[in-house]
Every structure is written in structure tokens, then in C-alpha cells.
């Protein structure tokens, strides 16, 4: 991995609220799901930023809002020197060559009516990047690159296993030679034995093409393996962001501590002695999130301050950011 400090993607105070409507004919907005509520981070060229959190905390929404698949409610997304949220459709189309996505569900993310070759070659057609013959050659290269037999090109997705399908999805994402890829839980739908293969493939491709990943996952050990830095999300906000080692060895935020204590240790003796921080209650509704600190309703150390003001996202150690009043 190259170790430069050029920021490729910067997210500033990104907000994504989904309105809730009521009424059949005359609809009015009665509230909003605060899926992502003001998050900021940056991703440096060539690195992998892991984004972890439990289901429904807004990780995937963050990824999609960055790619402008959803129109963000507020905030800014800078990619290279372009601000994406204000781009027009055509301008955004051009930027899409540079940023791609790998999807979670390898069954739902491939059009069952298109052959593998058509799927992997579609980005080239959409951007009229090559002639039909070149596309065919490029598709063969791509399939080989992701470890599939190029002769599979005129087969349909339903003839492949989950891991192979995920490779097809990766080939599609690579077709336009992007510099940034959002990996939206690319391995969580796969068998454990296949997960490692796909992660290693992503690793290899990153080295080969100096790719930058935003790696969304809920599996902490997998994120630890692939990421350089890790951000922890809870209910639409980032609670902690740090280098991998720093975060895993010395988590500051009580939520991160609870999460890490829940990771099983593949050693029966150590596993017995593992102390777990058990969180009580459920994640509050993102429609009506708690005041102040989002985590205070389940936090073991919360007090009055936490209900009054939203904790600032501050740097407690170089490169280690935490949003907690108690740190």
C-alpha cells in the first residue's frame, strides 16, 4: 500500500434523511428516518477505510450517499477536487467512471437476464469506452483478473455460485478502471470459506491497480484484516475513527469497547476468560433518535451531560478521533 497523504475522498457533515409520508392523496411529511446524521471523514488515496457498525446504523446508506445513489439531505462530498452533491446528471456520469461499488448480495446485484459478459461489459457500453470487439477482449481480461474462466462470458448468473457471482460483480466494478470502490459488505452474504478468497482478491486488486476502498462490514475481524483505518458507526453517526492498531488495541468509545469485546476469540482457553461488555436494550429508532449523544440510552457510563449536548468528534490521540463526553 502506498503511504501518501493525498485525500481522495472527503465527506463533510453528510446527512441522509428519508422522509416518512402519510396520506394517500394529499401526502404530508410526518417525520424522517435519520439514517445518516452528520458524519465527516476522509479517505486517502490507496488506503482502505473500514466502516463498521451493526445493522441499520447507516453504513450502507453512507456508501450510497457518497456515490450519489441517494441525494444527500445535507453535507458535502468531495472527490478529488469535485463537490459531488451539486453536480449535474451529466457531470456526475463522468465522475462515475472513477468511483464504483461492489454490492452485498451477489444474487440480487446481477441482472438475471444478462450474460456474465454483458454484465461485466456494460460499464464500457454505457460510457461508450470501447468498440464491441475491444469490449469483448476487455471482458475476457476482466474475468481472468477476478479468477473466472473467460469462456464463462456467455453464461447466465444463475449458473454460478455465490462466490463466483461476487467475482462477476467485482469485474463489473473494475471495468472502467476506477480509483475508488465502495465495498458494501461484499463478503457478508458469502460462505466463510469463500469470504477469505474474495477478501484476498480485493487485496490483490488493490495492490495491482492502487485502488482505494471504503470497506463497509459488520465483521470486525475481517475489517481488521483488510483496513488501514477503521470508523465505527452507531445510529447514523461515527463514534470513533482511528488507525486499525490504535482502534483495536485501545478503543476509547464505550460502544467500540462493547463491540470489540463481542468478537469471539478462536482459542478455547482465551475464549473462556473473555470479558464481555453486554449492552442493554435495543438500538433506538432512527426516526426519533435520542438527544445529545446517540449512544447514551445504552451507555454504561452515560450521565446528564450526555443527554444535553452532542459530543464533539475530537482527536484524542494523533489520528484517533472519538465522539464521547467521557473520554
Amino acid at each position: 500500500m502506498t503511504d501518501n497523504n493525498e485525500v481522495l475522498l472527503r465527506v463533510e457533515n453528510l446527512k441522509m434523511h428519508f422522509p416518512i409520508f402519510r396520506g394517500i392523496v394529499f401526502q404530508k411529511q410526518v417525520g424522517a428516518v435519520h439514517a445518516v446524521d452528520g458524519i465527516s471523514f476522509d479517505v486517502k488515496r490507496g488506503e482502505t477505510l473500514g466502516l463498521v457498525g451493526e445493522s441499520g446504523c447507516g453504513k450502507s446508506t453512507t456508501g450510497r450517499a457518497i456515490l450519489q445513489l441517494y441525494k444527500p439531505t445535507g453535507g458535502k462530498v468531495f472527490f478529488k477536487d469535485k463537490e459531488l452533491t451539486t453536480l449535474k446528471r451529466d457531470e456526475m456520469r463522468a465522475v462515475r467512471r472513477e468511483m464504483q461499488m461492489i454490492f452485498q448480495d451477489p444474487y440480487a446485484s446481477l441482472n438475471p437476464r444478462m450474460t456474465v459478459g454483458e454484465i461485466a461489459g456494460e460499464p464500457l457500453i454505457v460510457h461508450s469506452a470501447a468498440s464491441p470487439k475491444e469490449i469483448q477482449e476487455r471482458v475476457e481480461q476482466l474475468l481472468e483478473l477476478v479468477g473466472l474462466n473467460p469462456r464463462f462470458a456467455n453464461r447466465y448468473p444463475h449458473e454460478f455460485s455465490g462466490g463466483q457471482r461476487q467475482r462477476i460483480g467485482i469485474a463489473r466494478a473494475l471495468a472502467l478502471q476506477p480509483s475508488f470502490i465502495v465495498c458494501d459488505e461484499p463478503i457478508s452474504a458469502l460462505d466463510v470459506s469463500i469470504q477469505a478468497q474474495v477478501v484476498n482478491l480485493l487485496d490483490e486488486l488493490q495492490d495491482k491497480f492502487s485502488l482505494t476502498y471504503l470497506f463497509i462490514a459488520h465483521d470486525l475481524s475481517m475489517v481488521r484484516h483488510i483496513s488501514k483505518r477503521v470508523a465505527v458507526m452507531y445510529l447514523g453517526v461515527i463514534v470513533e475513527l482511528a488507525d486499525r492498531e490504535s482502534l483495536y488495541l485501545e478503543p476509547f468509545h464505550p460502544y467500540t469497547q462493547a463491540l470489540l469485546s463481542a468478537v469471539p476469540i478462536p482459542d478455547p482457553f482465551a475464549e473462556v476468560n473473555r470479558t464481555r461488555v453486554i449492552l442493554e436494550g435495543d438500538v433506538p429508532s432512527p426516526v426519533n433518535p435520542p438527544s445529545g449523544c446517540r449512544f447514551r440510552t445504552r451507555c454504561p457510563i452515560a450521565d446528564k451531560v450526555c443527554a444535553e449536548s452532542r459530543p464533539e468528534f475530537r482527536e484524542v490521540k494523533p489520528g484517533h478521533f472519538v465522539a464521547c463526553h467521557k473520554v
Partner: protein
């Protein structure tokens, strides 16, 4: 000649041929499954025969459909008496008419053959109208969603509640009434002329078109919405595909199956609507034969000459069964959950 077929390209090893062989497309796969469904094949064959009958009617029918031989009124062929013994006291035999003659001495067989033209035209026009209007309307509504969807679907709701049958009856009462005084050169007159030139089928098209597309629009909308949320559509957005490309390459190919099935299963409905309108005397203009109007004629003498109502009714029933069987077979063949299974 037979020997040349046996010269095959040299085998390259089982594994290799498996990989390089031309894959069968999903359409071929569905066709293969359809062919294994005997009821559907029978239905399909009957429909093909019907289409041939309708196209070749002038050569198959033994008499012109409107030729009246008044001396042959209600004549029956000999074999019919063994099927309908109740005919015996009234029967005047004549083997010139395979299924008998009607109350003005027209050949029933020829009229049934010609009657298939009306039913099949309706079976063609009905889906055409509902697919053209319904699918376009439903796709726009489902794809764009939000207030566009809301307004478009409320319009459909209103039209759905519209008493279209009553409307058709009113239209016909207005345009076809012998005492209505429509001046030549007006718009109403040209509609009247159009209706007459189509043998009275124009208003049947209107009647079917008014109601058929709404169901189709709703179905299409629902299907589009369910596909629109799939990840592969999102993937297409991520690579920068245009709305048109997403619609035509990603969404429509995935919903075409349910739409075809729904439309095939709706055809018997169109046919029976036409038969019903003709039965109550609001369908095709006499002497154009339609199974519905023939049943109506035959019903008046059903106790004495049951053949005059039963044969057109049988033709109608067989046609509707055939379309239903084919529709059922298509549904099974195109159901994605069954794809790839034996």
C-alpha cells in the same frame, strides 16, 4: 442424405465442450419447459388451428356466412339426431349442412368458422391495447414513483370505478339507433362509419380498451417497483446508465414474463366480453357472425334445435380453454422460481 447428418465436429473432450457450448438462453429454457406441459401444448395447437381457420375461412367454410336458403330453415344432418334425440320430432334432414342450418337457412358450420375471426381479432386487439397503454403507463408510474406515481394511480382508480359496460351500451344506443339522426361530415358520423366498416367491432374494442389497460398498468407498476429496488438496478445507476437503459435493459426484461402470463390469461376475458356484448345484441352487426350472437340466435330455439346454440358455445368454450391452458403453461414455464429445475 441421412448419412450426412452423422458427420459431427470432432469432440474436444467432455469438459471443454461443456464450457464452450452455446448456452441456451432463458427463452429457450422456458420454451423447453412449456413443451413438456401437455395441456399447454394442446392449448397452443388449438390456438394455431383457430388462427388457420380464421385466416383460411373462405376456403374452409362450405358456404358464404350470409347466404340464406329459406327453404332449408332449421335443417339438420342425420347424425345429429343420434346425439340429440329430442330433435327427432322436428327434424327435417339435409346432409348439406354438417352442423345444421339456422333459422334463416344459413350454414352453422360456415358461420362458426367465420365467427372465429371476430373472437381472434378481439384476442389480438385486447392485449395490444392493454400492453401499449398499460405497460407504458405502469412503467412510468412505477419507475418515477413519488407524486407522479400517486397522481397516475389515482387516475387509474377513478377509471377503474367507471361503469364501462354501461358506457358502451350508451355509446351504441347513440351511434347505432336507427332513429338517431347523425349528419354526414361530423365526427360522430365518421365514428359511425368506422364502426360499420369494421362490422361493428369498433365499439367492442373501445369497451375492452377502456377497462383492460388499467389492470395491466397496475400490474406493470407493481412489477417495476419490485425490480426497481433490486441491487442490479442500483448497480446500473452506479455505472452511470441512463433511465432509458435501466428501463429497457434491466427492468423490462425481468418483468416481461409475468406480463405475458397475465395478458394470456386475460384473453379469455376479452373473448367473453365480446361474446357477451354480441349476445345482448350490442356486438357485431348482423350478418357478421360472432359466436356470441349465434348463441343468442340459437338460444331462442334451444329446446327444439339445441345444435344452433350448442355448437357456437362449444367453439367459444374450447377457445377460452385453449387460452387458459396456454396461459397456465406459460406461467409455469416463465416463473423464475422454477427456472433451471426439471
Amino acid at each position: 442424405m441421412a448419412n450426412t447428418n452423422e458427420v459431427e465436429p470432432k469432440s474436444v473432450g467432455a469438459r471443454d465442450t461443456l464450457l464452450t457450448q452455446k448456452r441456451e438462453s432463458l427463452g429457450q429454457d422456458a420454451f423447453r419447459r412449456l413443451m413438456r406441459n401437455h395441456a399447454a401444448v394442446v392449448g397452443g395447437v388449438i390456438i394455431i388451428i383457430l388462427i388457420l381457420l380464421a385466416l383460411l375461412a373462405p376456403w374452409i367454410a362450405i358456404k358464404p356466412f350470409s347466404e340464406q336458403v329459406l327453404v332449408d330453415q332449421n335443417k339438420v344432418p342425420k347424425w345429429l339426431v343420434s346425439v340429440f334425440p329430442s330433435l327427432e320430432p322436428y327434424a327435417v334432414y339435409s346432409n348439406d349442412y354438417p352442423l345444421g342450418a339456422d333459422y334463416v337457412g344459413r350454414d352453422l358450420f360456415s358461420r362458426i368458422i367465420y365467427g372465429s375471426r371476430v373472437s381472434l381479432t378481439v384476442a389480438l386487439i385486447g392485449p395490444l391495447i392493454s400492453i401499449i397503454i398499460g405497460v407504458i403507463y405502469g412503467s412510468i408510474s412505477g419507475y418515477f414513483g413519488g407524486w407522479v406515481d400517486n397522481i397516475m394511480m389515482r387516475i387509474v382508480d377513478v377509471l377503474y370505478a367507471f361503469p364501462s359496460l354501461l358506457f358502451i351500451i350508451l355509446l351504441m344506443a347513440f351511434f347505432r339507433s336507427p332513429i338517431s339522426d347523425i349528419q354526414p361530415g361530423t365526427f360522430a358520423y365518421s365514428i359511425k362509419e368506422l364502426d360499420e366498416s369494421l362490422g361493428g367491432m369498433f365499439f367492442i374494442f373501445i369497451g375492452i380498451g377502456l377497462t383492460a389497460w388499467e389492470t395491466m398498468a397496475r400490474l406493470t407498476r407493481g412489477q417495476v417497483i419490485s425490480i426497481r429496488e433490486k441491487e442490479f438496478v442500483e448497480a446500473a445507476r452506479t455505472i452511470g446508465a441512463s433511465n432509458a437503459r435501466i428501463m429497457f435493459r434491466h427492468i423490462l426484461p425481468n418483468i416481461v414474463g409475468p406480463l405475458v402470463v397475465a395478458e394470456t390469461l386475460a384473453i379469455p376475458g376479452y373473448i367473453s366480453t365480446e361474446a357477451f356484448l354480441s349476445f345482448i345484441g350490442l356486438g357485431v352487426n348482423p350478418p357478421t357472425p360472432s359466436w356470441g350472437s349465434m348463441i343468442a340466435d340459437g338460444a331462442k330455439a334451444i329446446r327444439t334445435y339445441p345444435n344452433q346454440a350448442i355448437f357456437p358455445a362449444l367453439a367459444l368454450a374450447i377457445t377460452m380453454f385453449a387460452f387458459n391452458f396456454l396461459g397456465d403453461g406459460l406461467r409455469d414455464a416463465l416463473d423464475p422460481r422454477l427456472r433451471g429445475t426439471q
